[in-house]
Amino acid sequence: MELHIIVNGRRHDLDVAPDETLLQTIRNRLGLLGTKEGCVEGECGACTMLVEGVPVDSCLYPSPAAEGFNITTIEGIGAGATTPLQEAMVRAGAVQCGFCTPGFVVTLTALLADNPAPSEYEVRSALSGNLCRCTGYAQIIDAVIDTVGSRR
């Protein structure tokens, strides 16, 4: 079926299967591989994208339901430039294997857009849909605190 979506500011007219997920459309049809597939259960958050600015598990999100929507993937974060959050994550040691990292960047970008000065508890709560097996989360939280602090 026909699908018209705007991904990272670029319009795409596609023909997708009715049961296709947004993750499949973005990775397989558009070749944007930064968004990762970790579980296809909506548990790990590695596939997080923004649909109209709202973080979603793209592995469960039916592509036809995105008709006409603006979608932002990891490749569209910061519109091509590296954001202060991304720089802070590298500086803080918030990245290890990095497979979950795009999902964390997208989730946290949405959080900071919504709540520019979150408390540590608010950051941890916002991350309850993102699994990281390497870091134990502390340095990811540090990166957010660092980003918020440097804005002031």
């Binding site: 591989l33 930064g34 968004t35 990762k36 597939e37 970790g38 579980c39 296809v40 259960e41 548990e43 790990c44 590695a46 993937t73 990891i74 490749e75 974060i77 590296t82 991304q86 720089e87 994550m89 590298v90 500086r91 803080a92 040691g93 990245v95 290890q96 294997c97 990095g98 497979f99 979950c100 990292t101 795009p102 960047v105 950051v123 941890r124 709560s125 991350l127 309850s128 993102n130 699994l131 990281c132 097996r133 390497c134 870091t135 134990g136 989360y137 502390a138 340095q139 990811i140 939280i141």
Partner: protein, 752 residues
Amino acid sequence: MTVVVGTSTARLDGMSKVRGEAVYGVDVSLPGMLHAGILGSPIPAGTIVALDTSKAEAMAGVWAVITASDAPRHRSGLVVADQRIFAHGYVAFEGEPVAAVAAETPELVRKALDAIRFEVDLIPPVVDLDVAVADGARPVHPDWEDFVTSQEIARSTNVCGALLADPDGVDEAFAAADFVIEDEFRAQRQYQAYLEPRGVVALYEADRYTIHLSHQFPFNVRDRLAQALGVTASAIRVVGHHLGGGFGAKLDITIEPYAALLAKRTGRAVRLVLDRTTDLITAPCREDAIIRLRSGVTTDGRIVAREMNVLLDAGAAATDAPYLCSIPFLLAGAPYRVGPTRVVSRAVYTNTAPTGAFRGVSGTHTVFALEQHTDNIADRLGVDRREFRLQSLMSNGDRLLNGQTLDDLSILREAFDTMEAAAPWASLGREHHRGVGIASCVWLTNPMPGSATVKLNEDGTVGVVTGATENGSGALAMGVAQVAAEELGISVDRVIVSLPDTDTSAYDAGSQGSRTTHVVGRAVREAAAEIRRQIFDVASDLLEVGVEDLEIVDGGVGVKGVASSRIPLAEVATTATFSRGPIAATGRSITPQPQYDPTCASGLLFPTMPTPTYHVHVAEVEVDPVTGNVDVLRYLVVQEVGKAINPAGVYGQIQGGVAQGLGYALYEGLAVGEDGRYRQRTLETYRLPLALDVPRVEAHLLEHADALGPYGAKGVAEPPVVPVAAVIASAVSHAVGAPITRIPITPEDVLD
């Protein structure tokens, strides 16, 4: 004075990872690539009655369906040759491959797998470890006696690995004890739960297999795949990509043979990536174990005799379990002084997925058991748990049960002191519903060989070509890169470290046992020393001074102390390349095995603790008397690291390792039902630690330089997970006033 080593430089691959640019194994695609899938047995034990693939083979777009009749039927394995590519005659675990399909699309693969008719006559599965080793037990493998082993192992029905240590005087020492404490502990399986599922893309070209994947040990993929396929190692090339976590699960081969066989059969590239449930139920997870301990104790607080009986669940294949039998033996006599100790440690076949390596192999449950046992002894003596440990602590020159002398055990006492200064024992866990726990251990640095070629590129950057793997720990992206930068007087962002390729690099023993920075860092130092000689050779001509007067600072070579004399490394490199030849050198490294007593035990396949490190952990918890939930209020680590090459990187390993340990202690468990199937089958039911669960770990590093390690560095990444379950169990038992005998600790355990 070091400039780069000892600083928290940003990891080399950090920016590509936060931007989503890094290409992982599952992101790889090749022209003309087919998709593949595996049909696994739906039941854990049975006789194969029918396997009909004709309908699947007839489907349009299906390129190949292969079964046991299309694959080598010989058995292979790490130590015991007990694994076939496809089940033949019978199945021995749920998910055991019986057929594999290659087709044009993933949807067609699913349809073709559904069209295969597979019938099995069910046999009651062997799942209980005690039942499996009892007289008259049904053998998981009827032909087990015919299996070939690469090392001498005392095997018997369902026992595929065994360590036995029975020194003189154990029974006499028990007879002389004032009382005996006897305990039984059980630990559940733990899934590595790496975020990147296992996957592989295989190609068959010019009589060779090329295997693209992300893996911890590419050279083992080469060697084990060659063994499984019955070809020579050089018929296989393994190309590594960014690795989305492994934690031990990606050290041996698992799905590689199927993609390789399908690629050869179809003449096309074949991609095989597991869905999460298949990955989970077939992963080589941390083994479940039963550990039985008896200690003879005197009323003045000495442990004068010990007996330890361990059953490790190997699942339906031995894989690394015969090695792991040694770990309880190495840990049973340290770091607290014990008398003569008898150890029987056996790896047991069951009708479950083969278990394997997970960070801190077998140490997590062994230390859990030993430390709870130690708590029980202290409690019985009426001595404070920390005080009893200090009284019993070994000292410099004391020996492990294998006879290995530890000359630096005083570090452990220093670690206890550092912990006390950071968090006074008497101040923790004293309020109602709160508890405090403490544990300590010795752990090792894997000694296996590695190498690196270092080259000075013509633009003045430095290339490090190695078969080692960056598993996320930063061992290459920080540690090894920093060593290269330090040695050659450049900033770390001027270093480029290769991804592994078994065709272009010499052997490396993989990212395991915290070895990469320690072993490959040494190889880089050796190569860099030769590079410096080559650089000075050229520069002394250019500058017309003797080599003894030269130095490399800030990416330039010049006369010592004369900044204006410096010529950029790019100029030196270019001059060298087009006059004498490119500047390059290779270094190699292996840690010698420490001295030990080979007669101390039979079946000691993992004989020593090379480059030992020392660890003390403390936790304060609060238990909820209504829900039984455990809240970890504080978690402290004192860890001896030799030298912290990148302090933020070391902290990342401690925080991450503790998080995995907290999961192991409190949430994670793959429970095998009586039907031989896992109860947890998704990441929804397999409960991993979340951001809200894991406290910020308070870490304190001790640095006692190792004579061999680069700048004194020892292994760092593995041990932070080892004592965590022990500490949490100790703290919970303190809070509730009753022993903890199994992990994970459930709310029911807390409320009971």
